[in-house]
Symmetry: C2
Subunit: 210 residues, 2 copies
């Protein structure tokens, strides 16, 4: 495909001023996420989660952010999925939110740890029955024989009317940020990039070249 | 923010059948990318590029795909940007396309190498003047004193009416895929995932559990 070079969109985002008024990037993030939700961005809480095992090979996939709690970023998954196995080897990870409707991205880097059982249990219970059944029947990231095989497992539990309980290997993670960058697309590729880097308990702020 | 748990969208994507008809994931990808372009997805050729230096810390950012050539995925950047420095240490990378309008993502993993000078030169020349000036004046990923500083550099070249030539450290990369996964969101979180893995010159196909 060589027609991609002609796909060209001018980025007309609202500037991030040098004097943007934020000392804390979590508040800055919450403002942007709220604006993404209010601007009807598609799937505003979808984020790319990049992980790497000890072999340093990066992997990434979309996961939904389920909370910003005590300055950490929370999501849920199977601990035995590929990402879970990679995080067990190497807790470093990078999150990326991309809101093309607003010409914005946010890049968050840090290390990840497991949430407590109670928080995982509470969130699991809040999910619709159909999603809970899927969490029980699906050996995430593993090869399966067919679509039909998966649907049969799912239907069997659905018909049995037993309440699916949280698999031990299903639960939450939280990322503690070490850096958060705000990227705002601007005309002529002169984008705004503001990087917050954690040193001790405080944040250092730099504007980066686009 | 705890209201994120209520953001819940049912994924009603078109199924990927077990008998999907593709032996080659590049053709599969080109079909999905074409559908994304034709469906007016926002920025259909935007992809997340995940890299990691030898410290195995993942980093990711959005980059635009500029071509699919000889079964590789092509993009352009500054070789001295953070991603360039990480790729110089460790050529492994992961690309991710996410088209929420179609409930789809594609995950591509492999290793990255630099394009030849001629291809970089040709693409550079095809860019609008304003973007070329930005490539010349912006020390990508490095801290800069202010927005104004950047704009002054840019205006100076613009006013001089000199034709900006490609900086030596600006050019293309291509990723040779070792695996490509197609993810289609489906109701009840029973998503379709089809993984193509390269062994020698052929592709092995597996359906994965969602």
């Amino acid at each position: 495909m060589d027609n991609l070079q002609k796909l060209r969109r001018e980025y007309s985002g609202k500037p991030i001023l040098d004097n943007h008024g934020f000392e804390n990037p979590i508040e800055f993030f919450e403002q942007w996420l709220t604006e993404a939700i209010n601007s009807d961005c598609m799937e505003p809480n979808a984020m790319n989660v990049a992980t790497a095992g000890i072999d340093a090979k990066p992997h990434s996939r979309i996961v939904l952010l389920k909370g910003v709690e005590e300055d950490t970023f929370v999501f849920f998954t199977h601990y035995n999925s590929n990402k879970g196995l990679q995080l067990a080897e190497n807790p470093n990870a990078a999150l990326l939110f991309y809101w093309p409707e607003l010409f914005r991205q946010v890049r968050i880097e840090g290390s990840i740890a497991k949430l407590g059982t109670e928080a995982s249990e509470n969130y699991f219970k809040s999910r619709p029955l159909e999603s809970r059944i899927s969490a029980v029947v699906s050996p995430q990231s593993k090869p399966i024989p067919s679509r039909k095989w998966l649907e049969q497992q799912w239907e069997a539990i659905k018909k049995s009317k037993t309440e699916p309980s949280r698999p031990e290997e299903w639960g939450g993670y939280f990322l503690q940020p070490e850096s958060i960058e705000f990227w705002q697309g601007r005309p002529n590729r002169l984008h705004d990039r503001i990087l917050f880097s954690k040193t001790g308990k405080s944040w250092t702020i730099n504007r980066l070249a686009p």
